[in-house]
């Protein structure tokens, strides 16, 4: 998918490439899954995590019929920023838009950009993307997208690997936006959300699915996230190691670490012999 969008060209740095590949792999899988077992509970987790900042509680009904459109790497027309993903959700009753800016190993791509006419300072990636989101017009290589949902239902999601909210990065986006648009009717603090990759893992674990092919997609996605280290703590694997490497796990090893190693080996000449 990332290749289809030209994200694996030689000019792209390896970190950016990894970020784009991860984003496309994860969200493509979510796209292939039933919304009620994938993207809807994940977005509910996002709203729940940021509940204290939201204007009012938001809970998407997983049993409702949702039409969901995913657009990878659209370009905002106003400022020209390229978020990783635009998710448009609509049901009979309501429409939501969530723009996702995903990070893996890097921080925000900020730059210094001053508008000479207005002397306004731009360049904060999240603040710029929020401006694009409010303007509601994006382009891809083959179409222009006009957001139809109400501005109060548009959210920018900062998806990172942090275990807790990266307050400094979020605050600097809020500060720049508020400085430029002090009169804005939309309060960026109530629309700039954060969550980490691990929560996708947690949501998937909560919603098992035995139906083909969703089970395979879900399991593949869980494996991918675990491989990247995005999972909850599940204990120290001492016992597993003991079973796997009988020759390794011996209390003696830890004594060896405490004592002078070479004296220890002299006193225990059979220490490295394999046990059957």
């Amino acid at each position: 998918m990332a290749e289809v969008h030209g994200k694996l060209s030689e000019e792209t740095s390896s970190i950016e490439t990894k970020e784009d590949v991860l984003t496309s792999n994860v969200f493509q899988c979510l796209r292939y899954m039933e919304p009620k077992n994938g993207i809807i509970p994940f977005l509910n987790e996002v709203f729940n995590e940021n509940q204290r900042d939201l204007e009012s509680e938001i809970k998407l009904d997983p049993d409702q019929e949702w039409k969901i459109e995913y657009t990878f790497w659209p370009k905002g027309v106003e400022i020209g920023r390229e978020p990783d993903l635009l998710i448009q959700l609509s049901s009979n009753e309501i429409k939501y838009t969530v723009v996702v800016e995903a990070k893996y190993k890097s921080g925000p791509s900020d730059k210094e950009d001053v508008d000479e006419e207005s002397e306004k300072q731009y360049g904060n990636q999240l603040s710029d993307q929020f401006i694009d989101l409010l303007k509601g017009k994006y382009r891809t290589y083959d179409k222009t997208i006009y957001l139809e949902c109400d501005r109060k239902n548009r959210f920018l999601l900062y998806l990172t690997k942090n275990s807790t909210k990266p307050k400094i990065e979020l605050k600097s986006a809020v500060d720049q936006f508020q400085q430029n648009f002090p009169e804005s009717k939309i309060d960026i603090r109530k629309h700039l959300l954060w969550i980490n990759w691990t929560r996708i893992w947690s949501v998937l674990r909560k919603y098992p699915n035995d139906d083909f092919p969703f089970k395979l997609i879900r399991n593949d996605l869980i494996s991918l996230l675990e491989r990247k280290g995005f999972k909850e703590f599940s204990g120290f694997k001492v016992i597993e190691w003991e079973k796997k490497y009988k020759s390794f796990y011996k209390e003696l090893w830890f004594k060896a670490l405490r004592d002078d190693f070479f004296d220890f080996i002299d006193e225990n000449p059979n220490f490295f012999k394999e046990e059957v």
Binding site: S163, T164, N196, E232, S234, G235, Y245
Partner: protein, 233 residues
């Protein structure tokens, strides 16, 4: 010789996996603490080692692995506030010293309160100067008064500072056997207990299997004033 090499590679794989688990544990712990309104201080402090950390220097090879992980947490509103001082923090420290007084990796969870206020910017220098991690090594009894004579099982100890730490009013903590923390549910219990400790709750509930109930005598000698009574048979 091949077996010797294999064993060493196995140890290296084990350590990689162990540190990965430690990272997951702290990530999970911090996420649960943040749900209770506590954030790490400094806010952007994603590094666990501070200045007492890992070295890549060829002459410091004994410091190529982490020996101690120290984290400190404040209420979110305290982090946001302009105030430059604080008087209460949560801390969690994982001791991995081969010379630890404990026989297992111990997660030290506690709350420190200052008499008056302590500098918010300077507080983590306290950590890097090893004031806290050194307490697990039996060489600091000169700091303390009213040495405690151990009698039976004590779960939470209160540290009373001597002149060298005169600004510390109260320092309460409990020790968890880190290897017994099997999943996020156990971490949730630990976080609940830490927050109860922070809130001066009269009753602090924690799975007794997690608690280190055999405090090394050499360590107990350096501590004083147990605040939890012996378990009754």
């Amino acid at each position: 010789m091949a077996e010797k090499g294999k064993s060493i590679i196995e140890v290296i794989k084990y350590l990689d996996s162990f540190y990965n688990d430690v990272g997951l544990m702290f990530g999970n712990l911090e996420s649960l603490l943040s749900k209770k309104g506590f954030m790490s201080h400094p806010t952007a402090g994603n590094r666990v080692a501070f200045s007492y950390g890992v070295s890549g220097h060829i002459g410091n090879s004994q410091r190529w692995a982490l020996k101690n992980i120290q984290r400190m947490y404040l209420k979110e509103e305290e982090i946001d506030s302009e105030s430059k001082s604080l008087n209460k923090v949560i801390f969690c420290s994982l001791a991995l010293y081969p010379s630890s007084a404990f026989e297992m990796p111990v997660l030290v969870c506690g709350v420190m309160t200052w008499d008056g206020y302590y500098s918010k910017d300077g507080v983590y220098n306290l950590w890097s100067s090893k004031e806290i991690c050194d307490l697990i090594i039996p060489k600091n009894n000169w700091r303390l008064k009213d040495k405690y004579d151990p009698k039976g099982k004590r779960l939470i100890f209160e540290f009373v500072s001597a002149d060298a730490l005169s600004k510390v009013e109260k320092f309460s903590l409990f020790f968890v056997d880190a290897v017994k923390i099997e999943n996020a549910n156990y971490l949730q219990e630990i976080v609940d207990a830490i927050v109860d400790l922070y809130n001066d709750s009269e009753e602090i509930l924690l799975n007794p299997d997690l608690i280190v109930d055999s405090i090394p005598e050499e360590l107990v000698k350096t501590w004083t004033k147990p605040i939890v009574e012996d378990e009754k048979e």
